[in-house]
């Protein structure tokens, strides 16, 4: 009935391990993850607090809960299940059929993505970059460490860093474009993925994803990410969870210092060369609101009316101050837009136009939005 059976990858060893885990959970006065005094540490390298004498750690537990079948809720219908089961797994589970070209992707990108992610996925204004050049070359930057201010860091964009292409397809389909998620069709998603592979200068099965490339499900499943093997521990397959456990059991892997309390350093723990590092160049202090500790009454704002300038800064400046939309002082652009009357400008803004989502994605009433438009137009005069 459900597609979920496709996700099953039967493994005798894993089955054994997990049935043990679960029976421990429902068993008598025992809980999984009880490795405090056992040879096997918890999966995160830490400890857990098994149920003992009716308590877990310091908390009392109502053990009457155990073994009770409560059965709230109901079985979801097929349509309900399908509506939410939109995840796409690395083996292609959940990936629908469809196709899209780099060319189409470029056009959709320009209309729906460029306003935030910039030309060719270059990012900007804090929005993530989608590409920085050739993925295979940039993958080699991952050993870079910025030990000095003028050094280049590692490039962590989709092409150079992400281990699986399925993540990209799934994320775009479910969570992009950011102000209107879940609005792209499967074909549009294939097209955008093709475009992003293109700007990362990637190949599929030896073939360059060039400007003519058309991506479909079959080709998608052949994508090998340059940094596929760049992650530890290995979480795939029946041994995945045990690999994780082994990795975090060793503090050396992640900088953890396991020291007996009686043996921790208490005196003369530093070298004579120890030096103090201060905040350089003022550090980061662009805090909102500014740090203040006074116990006083808030200053009278005087006018508590809607602040169009503030609303502009919070909702519009990210595009209109960065050249994506016309800037407030771009007299020519605003003259052109207001030529057909300000009502037309209001309507375009409220309904969205080109790359601009309705009201720029802002949560403003129509009246508030119009006063922001008025503010913009007045600035251009």
């Amino acid at each position: 009935m459900f597609k979920l059976n496709k996700k099953v990858l039967i493994s005798i060893s894993a089955a054994a391990a997990l049935s043990l885990g679960f029976s421990a959970c429902v068993g008598d006065n025992a809980a999984p993850g009880n490795y405090t005094n056992a040879a096997v540490p918890a999966i995160d390298g830490g400890v857990s607090y098994p149920l003992k004498d009716g308590k877990t750690g310091p908390y009392y537990v109502n053990t009457q809960v155990e073994g009770k079948k409560i059965f709230n809720g109901r079985v979801p219908t097929k349509a309900e299940y399908d509506a939410w089961n939109t995840d796409v797994m690395p083996d292609g589970t959940g990936l629908p059929d469809g196709e899209g070209s780099v060319e189409d992707g470029d056009a959709i990108y320009e209309a729906k993505c460029l306003s935030c992610h910039g030309d060719f996925g270059s990012g900007g204004g804090g929005y993530p970059s989608l590409a920085k050049g050739n993925a295979y070359t940039l993958q080699k930057t991952l050993t870079n460490q910025r030990l000095k201010p003028d050094m280049d860091g590692p490039v962590r964009v989709f092409g150079s860093y992400w281990p699986k292409a399925s993540t990209l397809w799934w994320y775009i389909k479910d969570a992009m474009p950011h102000p209107q998620t879940g609005t792209l069709t499967d074909d549009e998603t294939y097209a955008l993925v093709a475009f992003i592979l293109n700007i990362n200068e990637m190949k599929i099965d030896g073939e360059e994803v060039d400007d003519e490339y058309v991506l479909d499900r079959e080709k998608f499943l052949k994508i090998k990410m340059p940094n596929e093997n760049g992650f530890v521990p290995n979480i795939d397959g029946p041994e995945g969870p045990e690999n994780v456990r082994a990795y975090f059991a060793n503090g050396e892997n992640f900088g953890g210092q396991k020291v007996k309390a009686s043996e921790r350093c208490m005196t003369n723990c530093q070298e004579p060369t120890a030096k103090v590092v201060y905040i350089k160049n003022g550090g980061i202090s662009d805090f909102h609101p500014p740090i203040a500790e006074a116990k006083d009454l808030p200053k009278e704002e005087g006018n508590t009316a809607f602040d169009a300038k503030k609303a502009y800064a919070e909702n519009c400046a990210m595009c209109h101050d960065t050249g994506v939309g016309p800037a407030p002082d771009d007299k020519a652009a605003w003259r052109e837009r207001t030529a057909k009357g300000v009502d037309k400008v209001y309507a375009n803004g409220i309904n969205g136009i080109n790359a601009m989502p309705p009201k720029g994605g802002a949560s403003l009433s129509d009246a508030e939005f119009k006063s922001v438009v008025d503010y913009l137009i007045n600035q251009s005069k």
Binding site: H178, E271, I279
Partner: protein
């Protein structure tokens, strides 16, 4: 020492001297005389003058049926900075004013707020939780049905693993709120995921659980079954009331001690499978890139950590007088277990003494610690705290941590932190580098950010 009569004389002679000054004067006279200090302070009008609130009606109980803080506390707020926004403030964080907090509970309005597609405002009547995949019986629950499961209440911190993550290459924030405020701690009520799974039955081949949110960002994360069957919870209440929208109203996943990002807000779906999902937030982000070029993935627990909360850059010692006896206070926490002790250094980590734990000491929870100090005006101090937990870990020095994972990790920074107490009592955030038993590594003599 003056006798009673002469004190009464001075009282009658000093018409302005009020009762409070009497006791102050007595105290001063009882102590060794302090050169240059006037014992005859001016009257305090806060005492001698009638107050408005002491003479007139206050508000009726009908006002503010949901209470709000005193207007005088308006500076105690979450704060944000553009640096921590992924383009806009709907994919961003507002950090908690831990310099202003007391005890181990963060008030709901001050709990740090991190979201990826804005704060969703969900109608609880229209919200469902669906549990599917490798379970014997998939289900969908209304919020009312979910809350009929037997509840558990636990106090845990939630910490964004990027807490302190801007400071791998040297200190950046002269602020406790921004240096350590990507976390908060609350009492949570909900149901263990394992309690619901007892009903559904889990298939033996299930090794991983996907938790997915119903907000526009569809936040998803993969968890191993071991944690799901240990202490993972679906929570609907925080500090005795419904979750705030910023915390995932009506329900969120709570994964005690682990990365805050795993505590998926606005939770709507749990799915079980044999293989992990590789969600966007566990590949592109929340991975720790090491100097080898390999990145740690599925780095679950927030490791043992601590900070001095008083003094702080925000609330310093510039008003302390010489000889003042003052409490140095702080927080310690570990996502791997329970805090077993905290050491405090006055010289930036060269020598340590044991501080005292205070109040409740709970697993995967903020723990308060304290040390009584006699302040000497003009002293320069380097206050460094170092916590230990029952998993056997002690907080690393900055050198130990960077030698192991480099400076590009972004996440999971838990090295000790140092406040410098300047001669005038002001507090400056610094780092003290180099450690015995470690060879000085020229390459890791890191300068602050340009």
């Amino acid at each position: 020492m003056k006798n009673k009569d002469s004190l009464e004389d001075s009282l009658s002679n000093e018409a302005k001297l009020d009762r409070r000054d009497f006791f102050r004067k007595t105290a001063v006279l009882s102590a060794t005389a302090l050169a240059g200090t006037s014992i005859f302070a001016a009257d305090d009008p806060a005492i001698t003058e009638p107050t408005e609130w002491g003479t007139k009606w206050g508000d009726p109980v009908t006002k503010n049926l949901y209470g709000v803080p005193s207007a005088y506390e308006h500076n105690v707020t979450r704060r944000y900075t553009k640096l921590l926004a992924s383009g806009n403030y709907r994919a961003s964080i507002a950090v908690s004013p831990i310099q202003d907090l007391s005890g181990i509970i963060t008030p709901n309005g001050l709990f740090f707020s991190r979201c990826h597609g804005g704060v969703a405002h969900i109608d609880p009547n229209e919200h469902r939780l669906m549990i599917t995949g490798l379970v014997e019986k998939p289900i969908v629950l209304t919020m009312k049905q979910l809350k009929r499961y037997p509840s558990v209440t636990r106090t845990h911190f939630i910490e964004c693993p990027a807490n302190g993550g801007q400071e791998w290459r040297g200190p950046q924030y002269n602020s406790l709120q921004f240096a350590k405020g990507f976390m908060s701690c609350a009492e949570w009520t909900g149901v263990y995921v394992k309690t619901i799974l007892e009903d559904l039955g889990i298939k033996p081949e299930a090794r991983w659980m996907l938790a997915e949110g119903g907000d526009s960002s569809k936040m998803g994360r993969t968890l191993p079954m071991e944690k799901v069957l240990d202490d993972a919870m679906i929570v609907w209440a925080q500090n005795g009331e419904a979750l705030r929208p910023e915390q995932g109203y009506p329900i969120r996943l709570l994964v005690p001690g682990w990365e805050g990002n795993l505590c998926v807000k606005w939770l709507r779906r749990l799915d079980f499978a044999a293989e992990p999902w590789y969600c966007k937030e566990e590949t592109s982000k929340y991975t720790v890139l090491k100097p080898t070029g390999k990145a740690i993935q599925h780095f679950y627990a927030n490791e043992v950590n601590s900070t001095v909360t008083s003094p702080s850059p925000e609330i310093d010692w510039s008003d302390l007088e010489d000889g003042a006896v003052v409490e140095i206070e702080g927080l310690a926490w570990s996502g791997m277990g329970t805090i077993t002790g905290v050491d405090l250094s006055f010289d930036g980590g060269k020598n340590y003494i044991e501080a005292k734990l205070k109040g409740l000491v709970l697993p995967k929870c903020w723990t308060r610690w304290s040390y009584m100090h006699t302040y000497k005006k003009g002293d320069e101090l380097f206050l460094t705290s170092r916590a230990m937990d029952d998993a056997g870990y002690v907080q690393p020095t900055v050198d130990q941590e960077t030698l192991a994972v480099g400076v590009e990790a972004v996440y999971h920074r838990n090295a000790v932190e140092t406040w410098k107490v300047e001669k005038d009592g002001k507090i400056t955030h610094v780092e003290v580098r180099s450690q015995l038993d470690r060879k000085p590594n020229k390459e890791l003599e890191i300068e602050g950010k340009a």
